[in-house]
Symmetry: C2
Subunit: 167 residues, 2 copies
């Protein structure tokens, strides 16, 4: 060990650290969605983002239940990954001229967000299983199922009308 | 339009911008993998990262073929998303004490990278289809299949021995 002690000593610590990472990420997504709703042009896309905003509020509450279940305070840690994904979404959206092209860019950004969440929830579920935290597994699986469904809808939109209009 | 003109005017521009984004991302991954190979403790994980390094070199070459096919110079653009994902991976790895826990953290980081690539390649394939760029679709699909296979292997590892040792 060097001059500084390392904070993540075991799988339980790594689980809680990653829980804090996705807790911060969900809160950043909550702050970003209203802007995406405003920018979206296609009514189906706008409506999809509105529904996802409500779902995201539930995801935050579910994470608070997971924190409670492991006896830890619900708090976030900096998550440069979601910050980068959101920063990039804003950069690209700011460069787009036409509304249908902006919709295509918003869908791509939302899919990147969903994939980040899917990978983190997938990892947390694997670790919760190994740590025999079955109540956490069940809560995390509910959210993962919703993230996957949201990604499926976005993929269908990307492959159908929104981009066709823009092409 | 404001004081500055916007650079992404149509779907073709958005396609090329996203191509430049993933081109930069693949190159950052190429720079990061040797460090992950060095840090990995489990021989299966170390070997998996080594194979993925070779695959990533091919992904870069395939992207260069896609650039050529659309008549654009192969060049990257800043991609805060992959920078954030890699920064976070390094931050977490630096906090981990035990080797098996470090392996679990490395797998989680690699899955986040794979998911970022999967979402970008998925989006590029949808757009290439709509823009009737069938040769690009075929090249991008080959890489997407390899990213999905890499993610599947990592998921299996996350759910099996590596983490079990750490728990």
């Amino acid at each position: 060990m060097g001059l500084f002690s390392k904070d993540i000593k075991n799988m339980e610590d790594l689980f809680v650290h990653t829980l804090r990472d996705i807790y911060y990420a969900e809160q950043q997504i909550l702050k970003t969605l209203p802007d995406m709703i405003e920018k979206a042009n296609d009514p189906q896309l706008k409506n999809g983002f509105q529904n996802h905003l409500q779902q995201t509020e539930n995801h935050v509450k579910r994470l608070e239940q997971v924190f409670q279940s492991v006896g830890k305070k619900a708090q976030g840690v900096d998550c440069p990954a979601i910050d980068g994904i959101i920063e990039e979404a804003n950069d690209v959206a700011g460069e787009v001229e036409q509304k249908p092209v902006l919709d295509a860019a918003l869908i791509a950004a939302a899919r990147a967000v969903e994939h980040y969440e899917m990978t983190r929830y997938g990892t947390l579920i694997a670790w919760a299983n190994q740590l025999s935290k079955q109540d956490c597994v069940s809560l995390l699986q509910q959210t993962l199922a919703e993230e996957k469904a949201a990604d499926k809808k976005l993929t269908e939109m990307a492959e159908s009308q929104v981009n066709r209009k823009a092409a």
